[in-house]
Amino acid sequence: MIEFASLLGKLNWSALPQDPITAGGAATVVGGVLGVMALLTYFKRWKWLWKEWLTSLDPKKIGVMYIVVAVVMLVRAGTDALMMRTQQAISVGSNHGILDSNHFQQIFSAHGTIMIFFVGMGLMFGLINLIMPLQIGSRDVAFPFLNSISFWLFFVGVVLVNLSLVIGAFSAAGWLAYPPLSELRYSPGVGVDYWIWSLEIAGIGSLLSGINFLTTIIKMRCKGMTLMKMPMFVWTVMGAMTLVIFAFPILTVTLTLLYLDRTFGMHFFTAGDGGNMMMYVNLIWAWGHPEVYILVLPAFGVFSEVVATFSRKRLFGYTSMVWATWAIVALSFSVWLHHFFTMGAGADVNSFFGIMTMIIAVPTGVKIFNWLFTMYRGRILFATPMRWFMGFVVLFTLGGIAGVLLGVPAIDFQLHNSLFLVAHFHTMIVSGVLFGYFAGITYWFPKFAGFRLNERFGNYAFWCWFIGFILAFGPLYVLGLMGATRRLDHYSASLGYQPLFIVAGIGVGIIALGVTAQLLQVFVSIRQRHESRDTTGDPWNGRTLEWSTPSPVPYYNYAVTPEVDNRDPFWAVKQARTAGVAVEPQHYEAITLPKNSAIGLYIGIFSFLIGFGAIWHIVWLAAIGLFGAFVCILIRCNDDHTEHHISAKKLEQLDKQARAQGGLA
C-alpha cells in the first residue's frame, strides 16, 4: 500500500547493497557510469556529446545511440549468463555454488528482461533508425522529435533496471513476472516494481516508435517507390511495426494491472477475492508472442539484404517474401496460447493453437527457401555479414524444428519449462535476432562510420559465437529431454546433469570470447580506419538506395531526393552508368531539417522521476515527474522555431564536398 506518511515512501538505507554480490554489481554500475563521466571530462567532450548526440534529432545519431546502449546491455546480460552457467556447472550435491537462490533468481530475471527489451529491441530500433529512412529515399522519419522521446524513454528503462543493482533489488519473478509470485504477498520488495516501471516506460517508447516508423514508411517513400518496390528490410520493418502498435498496448495494460494489484490492493490476479492469475498469463503472452516476431522480422529483413548483396543476385521470390512477411504478422496474433499449453485448457483449445503454431512455421520456411534460392547460382562472397547468415540458416532451422515439436501440445506437456524449451528459444533469438543484427551492423557499418570493420576479427567473432552457441545450448536440448527444468540453481548428482552443464558452461565462455572479439574488432577498426576507409560509399557493391550516398552519410541523407523505378534502384543506376547512360545534373532545392532539441532528454528525466516515485511510493516525486513532462510537452508545442533551413546553394556546396570525400562521381 501507499505509504503517504513517509516523505521518501519505502526508501531507506537498507535499500543500499547489503552483501558482497550485490555490492559487486552496484560497484560495477556506479564505476562504469563514473568512468564514462571521467573520460568525457578528461577529453573535454561534454559539449560535443550534448550537441552532436544527446540533443540530436537525426535518426542516424539516435540509431547509433540505441546500438551503443544495446551493446553495453549485451555485456551486462551476458555477464548474468556467465554467472548462471558457472553456478549450474558447479552447484551439484553438497556444493551450492557461488550464488544463493535469491540472487540466482534475480539474475535470470534480469538476464531475460535485459536481453529482450534492451538488447533485442535496442539493436532493432537502432538499425531501423539508421537504415530505413535511407532505404526509402527519405531525409528523416515522420516525427523526428517523437523519435528522440522514444530513445530517451528506452534509456530510462535501461537506467531503472541497472539502478536496481544499486538501490533496492531487482525482480526475482522471471522475465515475465507471473502472479501470484509477482504479487505483493510473495514479492513484497521493490524488485517487481522496478521490472514493471522499467518496461512500462520503455514500452511507451517502443509504441511511439511503432507509430513513427509505420507512418514514415507509408508516407515518406521517395517518388516512384511503390510498396512493391521497397527493399525487403523496409517491408519487414513495416510488418514488425504493425505488430508493435497492436501488441504493446496489451503489455502496457498488463503491467499496469499488476502494479494496481500491488499498490492499490486491486484483485486482477490475486489468489483470492475474485482474482484470476491465469488471465495474466493469457494477456502477457498475447503481447509476448507478437514481441518475438517483432524482434525477428527486421532481422529477416537484414538477411534478405545481405544474401542478395553477397550472392550478387537479386532476391529470389520478392512477392512471396512480402506475402510471407504479412502472413507471419497476421498469424503471430493467433498462436499465443502455445506458451501455456500446460496451464490446463482443454484439448480443443490446445489443438487449435497447436495447429496455428504449425501453420506459422510455413511462411518462415518460405523465407528460408527464398534465401537459399537467392544463393543458388550466385557468386557468393563470404564476408562477415554472409557468415552470420550461414550460421543463422543452420541453427535457426534446427531450432525451428524444435519449435514445431514444442507446438504439439502432447509433446509440450513433457517439455514445457524444461531446458529443451530454453534451448529452443535461445536458438531462435540468438541465431535469428542477434546474428541478424550483428550481420546488419557489420554490413552497414562502413556507411555510417566511413570505414570498414576489420574482417579478421569479424571472422573470429563469428566462429566463437557459432561454436560457442552449439556448445552452450546443444547440451540443453539433451538435458531438457532428460527432464531438467529451467532456472535450476542446484541439482542432485545422481541426475547426471553435470557433465552437460560443464560443456554448456564452456560454450558460454567461448561466446564471451566472441563478444570480446567483437569489441576488439571495433577498436582495431577505429585504429585502422585510414587504411580501411570507404571511399566509394558502396563497399559491398550494394543494390539499394543507401549505397548511393557518400560514406559517412551526410546529416541530410540525400541532397536531392532520389526517384526510383526499380526494385533494386541503385543496382539499376550502376548498370545504367556502365552502359554509358548519361547522369543528369542534380537540381538542388532548399530543404528543411529539424533543429536539435533537449526536450526529449528532459522528458526522459521526468519519466525517470515518475518511475522511481512509483517504485518507491514517493508520491511527490512522481507528481513532479508528471508535471514536468507535461510542461516539457507544452514548451515544445509552443516552440515555433523547431526547424532550420538549408538553402539550395549551401546544399549544393555540402553535397559536392561530401561526394568528393566519399569518392563518388
Binding site: N276, M278, L283, L337, G344, G346, D640
Partner: protein
C-alpha cells in the same frame, strides 16, 4: 513568428465533415442508444438475445461514429486509415474473442467450484 496562414484546400487531407453528416450521425446514434436502453430496461427479450441485440446495436453505432463523425468513408485513396482500422478490428476480435474462449475454458477446468462441475460431467466416462 506564427504566420496566420489559412488552410488552403488541404491536399491529401483526410476527409472532412459537413453539417449534414454530423446531424445525421447524431440522430442515428441517439436513436441506437435509446433503443438499447429501452430494450434492456423493459427486458424485451431473453437474456442471451438481449445481449446479442445490444452488442449488435453497439456495433452499428460504432460504424455510425466511424462514418459520420470520423469520416472514415470519405478518405481518398490509398485508404491507409481504413486499412489500419480494419487490422485493429481483427486484432481486437482475436484478442477479446480468443481470451474469452481461453479463459472460460481454463476457468471451467481449473478452478475449484468449476472443477466440481467438470468432474460431475465427466462421471461415468
Amino acid at each position: 513568428m506564427s504566420e496566420h496562414e489559412k488552410i488552403v484546400v488541404a491536399q491529401h487531407d483526410t476527409a472532412r465533415g459537413s453539417l449534414a453528416s454530423y446531424v445525421a450521425g447524431y440522430i442515428f446514434a441517439v436513436y441506437l442508444t435509446v433503443t438499447a436502453y429501452l430494450v434492456v430496461y423493459n427486458h424485451l427479450f431473453s437474456n442471451t438475445t438481449l445481449t446479442v441485440v445490444i452488442v449488435g446495436l453497439a456495433l452499428v453505432q460504432f460504424m455510425v461514429h466511424m462514418l459520420f463523425f470520423l469520416h472514415l468513408g470519405r478518405e481518398t485513396k490509398p485508404r491507409w486509415k481504413l486499412a489500419v482500422a480494419l487490422f485493429m478490428i481483427m486484432v481486437v476480435v482475436v484478442l477479446v474473442g480468443g481470451s474469452l474462449w481461453i479463459m472460460s475454458n481454463l476457468t471451467y477446468r481449473m478452478t475449484p467450484t468449476q472443477q466440481n462441475n467438470y468432474m460431475n460431467n465427466q462421471q461415468g466416462i
